[in-house]
């Protein structure tokens, strides 16, 4: 990450977070209020990604994981969910000084998006895994009853 981009993210953190958060809430129906736990969890996760934007560290990854965990539960198509991460690039571009190379920033956002996709899929799978575990347990009970 270049020093310029680090500075841009640092200096405009609140505005970037506010705009990105708003776009995140736009995914939901119009009644999702900014003060709800879901919205706050979204804001926290986005804040973690922005704060860890300059490095590929655990903090950023945790933020991505938390967002993916929420998105995986909602009936958005995967592309729609992932578009939220690409929105970050659109927002950051608005702060870029003229002539600043956007390539390095794009590369970072794309890496975050790919990681988010993996995490999103893992969480969708996890929902099925939980269903299977419950079905297995129910079947176990049926067999036990049958045996008796």
């Amino acid at each position: 990450m270049s020093i310029t981009w680090e500075r841009i993210v640092l200096e405009n953190r609140e505005t970037i977070l506010h705009r990105w958060h708003k776009r995140g809430l736009d995914l939901f129906s119009g009644k999702m209020a900014p003060g709800t736990p879901l919205s706050e969890a979204f804001a926290d996760a986005m804040g973690m990604i922005i704060d860890g934007f300059d490095e590929d560290g655990d903090f950023c990854r945790e933020g991505v994981l938390r967002m993916a965990r929420i998105l995986a539960l909602h009936p958005f198509r995967p592309s729609q969910s992932m578009s939220l991460f690409l929105e970050l690039l659109v927002i950051l571009r608005e702060f870029a000084p003229d002539g600043e190379d956007i390539g390095v920033c794009r590369e970072r956002v794309e890496r975050i998006t790919l990681y988010a996709f993996d995490s999103f899929v893992e969480h969708r799978e996890k929902i099925y895994q939980l269903k299977v575990e419950e079905s297995r347990s129910a079947m176990h009970m049926q067999l036990r009853r049958g045996r008796s």
Partner: protein, 549 residues
Amino acid sequence: MSKYLQKQADLQKEFDEKPSSLKGDYAQKEWWEMPVEFREGNFCFPAKPEVIEELGFPNPRKWSVTEEDWQLPEGWQKTLMEGMRERIKKYRSLKLYLDSCVRCGACADKCHFFLGTGDPKNMPVLRAELVRSVYRGDFPVVEKILKGFAGSRRLTKEVLREWYMYFYQCTECRRCSVFCPMGIDTAEITIMVREILQLVGLNNNWILAPVANCNRTGNHLGIEPHTFVQNIESLVDDIEELTGVTVNPTFNRKGAEILFITPSGDVFGDPGVYTMMGYMLLFEHIGLDYTISTYASEGGNFGFFTSNDMMRKLNAKMYHEAERLGVKWILGGECGHMWRVVHQYMSTMNGPANFLEEPVSPITGTKFSNAKATKMVHIAEFTADLIHNNKLKLDPKRNDHLRTTFHDSCNVARGMGMFEEPRYVLRKVCNSFHEMPENTIREQTFCCGSGSGINAEENMTMRMKGGFPRANAVRHVREKHQVDSLVTICAIDRASLPPLMRYWNPGVSVYGLHELVGNALVMDGEKKRTEDLREDPMTGFDDKGDDVD
């Protein structure tokens, strides 16, 4: 590419044509114009025809929620409207709740399903409005004059789909009622609408199958008496192996002082079985004269989610059994809705149980005057009283491998106002206990998201959404205090919170309160304890060294 894979163009067409509140097409529309879409993960399967037949309920048939034709009986609108009128006349509370809402919106953001889904129809005010709008339309003149202004509407198939979806997305937790300035209990509306929906055969298999089982065998799982005994005996063996102590439960013993009834999940389900082991260790520790019934072998009451009559019938079996066995009073285990039924409805529905005695602890002599009418004492109160009177030998260090928080079960907290007793017990049996944020505990507790019979695996996505506010509060104490154990006193919680934690907070395990009591009890004649009831190693109690005293 697989020949079964849907073409991208088809997917796009489906997305364009299928109504969805997520596409933003409904921003300017009224709430009743929002589409109802049943999709995988947001509904429970309907009851099987054989289950409905067994119970003698109307319209048994095989049908699917996602199909257009729900195979409703002839004249279904008339049946439902008459059912609604009859209940409004019979239950004054329902009429009051339908009439008195002023749409202030205080309840709007209090529902865990609204907070987890963002779906406006999950605001309690709007959920109730789904039925209120039809109730209002039942006055033809008013409707004619005020149509549009009054928000009245006719009972159509679309409205019925809304009722089915949203009244099975309410867990009857009553958090909204805590904040309602008019005292409206939206859960009571849900209870009534579900009862009305039964009239045309709209129901849920995860509720009705346990009801049928309980009706037939005495417990939700349909376990026959001999299997019930076998299972408890296998837990007795486990206890002996772990602690070296032999506990001696008795079954159907006439003349015992106390009848102990707990949810059958404690006898058969993981992690409920460890709670059952805890109960038995406790009773052995104090030498309690108790018996367990293999006929009234269920504390839970899924009749409560079905109809008032069924609730009354399933509740009555506990009292009939207590009378048959000639016990003095009933001790109830860790359960949620069992206690709401007992505490709020039993005394006028089936009681007063004058053939039993006002409960007095045989160990401490404490009179439980709060249970004067129901003759049934909550195990957390009973144990708190034992601890308060120094009747238990406890070593809380035996739970030092756990960092705990406590989840107030909705029915016990809001339904009977029990907040402090379980916390008192928990503080005495373990050294690490941290509260979740104040607005998520006690009377403001958040539901597990799976109560009131919607804990079906096919409803998993909705359960994870509905449980999000609770999980979020657990995350808070996990991050702040490294909490890894969520303690609760409800069998449905013990079934539903483990998957919720696995999804939102991996690494957090779920425990029953009396499991931790069982860990901490120092029993006479016990062998050296190194493992808890789950056979997990206790900290500082390894085989090599002595206990850290």
